[in-house]
């Protein structure tokens, strides 16, 4: 039996929890997930001009009774502190985020390396549940349990996809 990929596992868990709205700003590492989601009529998926907007849309959808997730890369997360601190966290909206991690394990762009350092301190400061996902065999458990926790506690959750899981973006040296 072929092993499920990280993006197949993600789609399976999103469906299990009825997360059918996917907003994103494109990213190369996330491409197979984005393509799988677009190919599946279960999902309403579209790109936004900016990550803040993508979070605003899923926040509105949550209040309207529909579950969503925002996909982005690390530099995109760096545009979000104000939105998370003034919308998701104080209004107790369980914003789900999936971030492909740049800036580490073979990064070639110093800007990505610098901005990646800001992500975990922001998540910790805002008391947002965050998991760095490195192993395929742990992925379904972490995704599944953390979604249950997000709905129950009304606290946002951020899944950080490590290059150890996805292969990351490779520098053609």
């Amino acid at each position: 039996m072929a092993t499920e990929t990280w993006y197949e596992i993600t789609v399976k868990v999103l469906k299990k929890h009825k997360v059918d709205l996917v907003t994103y700003v494109p990213d190369n590492v996330l491409r197979p997930l984005i393509e799988l989601i677009h190919a599946d009529p279960y999902f309403t998926a579209f790109a936004c001009a900016r990550e803040e907007e993508a979070v605003g849309i899923t926040a509105g959808a949550w209040m309207g009774g529909r579950r969503g997730i925002v996909l982005m890369q690390t530099s995109g997360f760096a545009t979000l502190p104000n939105t998370l601190a003034s919308l998701s966290v104080p209004f107790q909206i369980p914003t789900l985020m999936m971030v492909s991690e740049r800036g580490t394990m073979g990064e070639f762009n110093i800007g990505q390396q610098m901005v990646a350092r800001t992500m975990r301190p922001v998540l910790d400061t805002l008391m947002i549940e965050a998991h760095t996902m490195t192993r395929l065999d742990e992925m379904e458990f972490i995704l599944d349990r953390s979604m249950i926790q997000a709905w129950a506690t009304q606290i946002p959750c951020c899944y950080i996809l490590s290059p150890l899981l996805t292969g990351g973006k490779v520098f053609a040296a």
Partner: protein, 205 residues
């Protein structure tokens, strides 16, 4: 003056109106089941002051996100119409959202812009909307074709009524004066959210 689709107005041709009066007219005109999302600042304060309408959501912070939040509510509640009420300075901060609304053809969404050309809440500093940035023209450039300046109060009411007659999305630009809001929004985010979700029937018990 009635809405004139063939000869859309420029910003400087639109009448300068009262924010409180326009929001009062809007709230009187729309059905109770419709949702209204208020952006930050004096627009939000006057939405609060006009009526404690259960299906209103009041943002606090997250400047520029009234339209995306409204779009999210519209995606989740396709059977009602959603109005996103935003100030000119706020929309200038998140112009890309108009392209998203247009591209997705969010038919049950109307964006209402209150444009006084200034950041009133921070001391009345001049905004780019007073230096040549025409938000209705920008909306059209984003592909939001049904974007018009409201010539006067009657035209505004006519445009609001269109929400239940013809599919959107649409954007209504309103030039307003610098009158202060009548009240200040309650600042208790979980309560504001909870009331809105219960009014929509999403949360029960």
């Amino acid at each position: 003056m009635a809405l004139n689709v063939n000869q859309p107005l420029k910003r400087e041709q639109a009448k300068v109106m009262s924010r409180f009066d326009l929001i009062s007219r809007m709230v009187a005109k729309i059905p109770d089941e419709d949702a209204v999302v208020g952006g930050i600042g004096w627009t939000n304060f006057d939405l609060w002051a006009v009526k404690r309408r259960p299906r209103n959501f009041y943002m606090l912070g997250s400047m520029g996100l009234a339209v995306p939040i409204g779009m999210g509510v519209a995606l989740a509640q396709p059977d009602i119409h959603v109005f996103a009420l935003e100030g000119d300075g706020s929309l200038l901060m998140q112009l890309g959202c108009m392209a998203t609304v247009a591209a997705r053809k969010q038919t049950n969404l109307t964006v209402v812009i209150m444009d006084n050309g200034a950041y009133q809440i921070t001391g009345g500093q001049r905004a780019l909307s007073d230096e040549g940035a025409d938000l209705v023209a920008i909306a059209r450039g984003c592909g939001l074709e049904q974007a018009y300046w409201a010539a006067d109060e009657d035209a505004f009411e006519e445009m609001i009524a269109l929400a239940h007659k013809e599919p959107g999305p649409r954007l209504i630009g309103c030039r307003i004066d610098k009158e202060k809001p009548r009240e200040t929004t309650e600042r208790d985010p979980p309560i504001l959210k909870d009331r809105f979700m219960r009014a929509l029937g999403v949360k029960q018990g």
